[in-house]
Amino acid sequence: MADATTTAEKVGSLLRTKRIIVCCGAGGVGKTTTAAALSLAAARAGRRVLVLTIDPSRRLAETLGVSRNPPEPVEVPRDRQAAAGISPPASLHAWMLDPKLVADDAVRRLTKSKEDAERVIGNRIYQQISGMVAGMHEYTAMEALYTLVNGGKYDLVVLDTPPSRHALDFLEAPRRLSRLVDSRALSHFLPRSDSMVARAASKVLQKILGAVFGDEFASEFIGFLMTFSSIFQELNVDVNTMRTFLSGPDVAFLLVTSPQPATLTEAHFFQDKTRELGLPFRGFVLNRSRARNVERRLPDAATDAAGGGPELASGLTKLRALAESELHLAKKDLALLHELEGRAGQQATALALPELPQGAGEMATLLEVADVLAAS
C-alpha cells in the first residue's frame, strides 16, 4: 500500500540496495516464506543472493530444491532459478543451516589449538547441550551471517531468524549468552585462590551446585565451565562485534507480523528494542493481511444474477453475506496497516502482504509474494 506521507525507503528498494536484511518475527507469522520471497525478488532484480534460515521447514527446502542442513550454502538448481526468472550473473543460494555444525565451526575458530578444539567438541556435556543452550541458535545464525557477508560472494544475505515466541528473542538470546560469560559471573563457580572472601563465596556456590546437580555431575560441570571459559570470553567479544556490524547502513531489520490482537504491542516493543540496541529498523511486513480486499467489488444479487438461473441468484445471496464479513475484516486489517504506517515514521516502511492462496504450487506462491515485495 502506498503511503504518501512517508519518505522511508520501500521494501522493494531495500531488497535492491541493502547487503543484509534481517527478518524478525514471532513463530507462525510466515517469516520463512517472507524471507524466501524477499530473496527471490532480489535475485530476480539481478543480485547474488543468499537466504539463510535455521530449523527450516521440509517444505521450503523442497520448493527451493536444496537439501536441509548441508555444511555450507547450496545453490538453488539452475533450472529452478531460470524458471523463477533468475539469470546469471544473478543467483540464489540457500543455507538451511544446522546450528550444531556452525557451533562446532565457531569452537574451532575460537580455540587456540586444534587439540583444544577437539577436546571441547568431544566433551560429553558439550555434545549434549550445544544445540539446547539458550541463545546458541541465535548466536550461530549471527556468526554465519557475519562470515558470509564478509566473504564477498553475495550482494545480499537475507536472514530468517530462528523460530521463537517473540520477535525479540533473536536479539535477546545471544545477549543472555554473553551476559553469562561477561563479567566474572562464571569465575564464581571455579575454584579460586585469590582472597579469602572470594574463596568462601566460591565454596558456597560449589556446595549449591553439588546439592542441585549431585556432587558427581557438579564437578564434571565445573570442569566443563573451566574448559569453556576462555572460549566464552572470545565469544563475548564477538557478540559485541556482531552487534556493531548489524548496526551499519547496509543493514535493514524487518519485523514480519500478522494481523492479531498482539500485533501492535509487539511492533511497539520491537521498535523500541531495535532503537535501544542501535539497530536499523526499516519496516513492518504485515503478512496475511486482507487489507487489499477493500478494493474488490462485493457480489450483488440484483445485477450479477442477470441472465443466470435460480442457483446463481440464491448462491449470490449467500456469497454476499460471506463477502460482507470479509469486507469487515479487510477494513480492520487496513486500519491496522495504517497504524503500523503511522508508527513506522520517517525511517521505516509498512507493507501488507495478502493471504497466500492455497493449492497453487509453492514456487508460484512465493513468486507472487516476491512480485508484491519488489513492486512496493
Binding site: G28, L180, L186, H188, D304, L312, G315
Partner: protein
C-alpha cells in the same frame, strides 16, 4: 484402526477424586487426565481452545488450572486475554468460576526447585541472591525448561483432603521447538544427570507425563495444506519424546452454505470479476481436502471444530467441544 481413541478407557484411574457426569462423552479423553498439553503452531487458535477446554472442564465441576509457558512475566498473553486479563498471575489464582490460572516461568520453577533441594534457608537465600547462579540458570543448558518442568511438577504434586488440588492442568504450549524441548527434557537431562535431585524430579515428572492415563498432548491445527504438514511433523516429534498424544483438534472448519449447483453457477462469475468472497467459495473444498489428507495420514483421534465469530468465542467453542464427535476413522464407510 484408531489406537488411541478408545473413549473412557482411562476414566477410572485418571482422577482419584472423581467428578460427576464424566462417563461416556466423547471428550472425556480430552479432560479426563491430570495434565493436558495444547500444542501447535502460532495462530491456529491454541490459546482460545485452551480457554474453552478449561471452561468445559469447570462446567463438569473439575478443579482446573490453566497455564501457559511464558518467557517473561510482563509478556502479552493471549490466553489471559480470554479470561479478561492482560497476563496470568505469577502463582495460581482464581481467574474464572472453577478455574485457577498461572504462568509457568523458568525463574519461578527454578526458585521452587532450589527451595526444595536446599533445605537450609541460608543456602537457598545465598543461591537465589547469587547473580552468578541466576545468570547461569538464565542461559544454561536446558535450565529454563527445567524450571518450567519443575513448576508443573509442583502443581501436579499438590493435594488436598479429597484428592489432587488441581484435577486437570491445561497448558497452552509455546511454539513447536519449545514444546519438544520441554517434553524431551527428561530423556536429555537424565543422560547427563542420572542421579541427584534433578534426576529424581525428572523421573517423578516422567511418571505423570509419559503415562497415557494421566497425560496427553493435543495438536491444534487448521484445515489447510501447510498446517496439516506441520501437525503431522509435530505428532511425530511428540512420539519421539515419548509424550502420549491424544489426537488432533482441527480448528476453524469453514461453513459450506452452497449447494453444488450454486457453486457451479457462481464459480465462473467470481473468477472472471475477482469478486470479494471468491476465496470463501473455494475454502470449504480446500478444507475438506485437508481434513481428508490428515485423516488418511494418521490413525489418531481427530475432532473438527467450526469457524465461529469472534464475539463470545470461548463459550461457543466450549459448546462445540462438548458436542464434538471424533471424525470416523479412514476405513469407516
Amino acid at each position: 484402526m484408531r489406537a488411541e481413541a478408545e473413549v473412557g478407557c482411562y476414566g477410572p484411574r485418571a482422577r482419584p477424586a472423581g467428578g460427576p457426569g464424566l462417563e461416556g462423552l466423547p471428550l472425556d479423553e480430552l479432560v479426563n487426565k491430570r495434565v493436558v498439553l495444547i500444542t501447535g503452531k502460532g495462530g491456529v487458535g491454541r490459546s482460545v481452545l485452551t480457554a474453552a477446554l478449561a471452561r468445559l472442564a469447570a462446567r463438569r465441576s473439575l478443579r482446573v488450572l490453566v497455564t501457559e509457558v511464558g518467557d517473561d512475566p510482563d509478556d502479552y498473553s493471549p490466553l489471559a486475554h480470554h479470561f479478561g486479563l492482560s497476563r496470568l498471575p505469577r502463582s495460581p489464582e482464581r481467574i474464572a468460576p472453577g478455574i485457577q490460572g498461572t504462568v509457568l516461568l523458568a525463574r519461578t520453577g527454578q526458585e521452587l526447585f532450589l527451595k526444595s533441594v536446599l533445605r537450609s534457608g541460608t543456602l537457598a537465600r545465598a543461591a537465589l541472591s547469587s547473580d552468578a547462579l541466576r545468570r547461569l540458570l538464565g542461559a544454561g543448558p536446558s535450565f529454563r525448561e527445567m524450571g518450567v518442568f519443575f513448576q508443573l511438577l509442583t502443581y501436579l504434586r499438590a493435594t488436598r483432603a479429597d484428592g489432587p488440588e488441581y484435577q486437570l492442568i491445561l497448558i497452552d504450549m509455546p511454539a513447536t521447538g519449545h514444546t519438544l524441548s520441554l517434553t524431551g527434557l527428561p530423556d536429555l537431562l537424565l543422560r547427563l544427570l542420572p542421579r541427584g535431585p534433578i534426576a529424581e524430579a525428572l523421573r517423578e515428572g516422567q511418571r505423570y507425563l509419559n503415562d497415557p492415563t494421566l497425560a496427553a498432548a493435543w495438536v491444534v491445527t487448521l484445515p489447510e495444506d501447510l498446517p496439516v504438514s506441520e501437525c503431522l511433523e509435530l505428532l511425530e516429534g511428540l512420539d519421539k519424546t515419548k509424550m502420549p498424544t491424544g489426537g488432533v483438534l482441527m480448528n476453524r472448519i469453514p461453513p459450506d452454505p452452497f449447494t453444488p449447483a450454486e457453486r457451479a453457477a457462481l464459480t465462473p462469475l467470481v473468477d472472471a470479476q475477482n469478486l470479494l468472497g471468491k476465496e470463501q467459495l473455494a475454502r470449504p473444498l480446500l478444507a475438506d481436502r485437508a481434513v481428508k489428507r490428515l485423516r488418511a495420514a494418521t490413525p489418531r483421534t481427530i475432532y473438527t471444530l467450526p469457524e465461529l465469530p469472534p464475539d463470545g468465542l470461548v463459550d461457543a467453542l466450549a459448546n462445540a467441544l462438548d458436542k464434538a464427535r471424533p471424525l470416523p476413522s479412514s476405513e469407516s464407510p
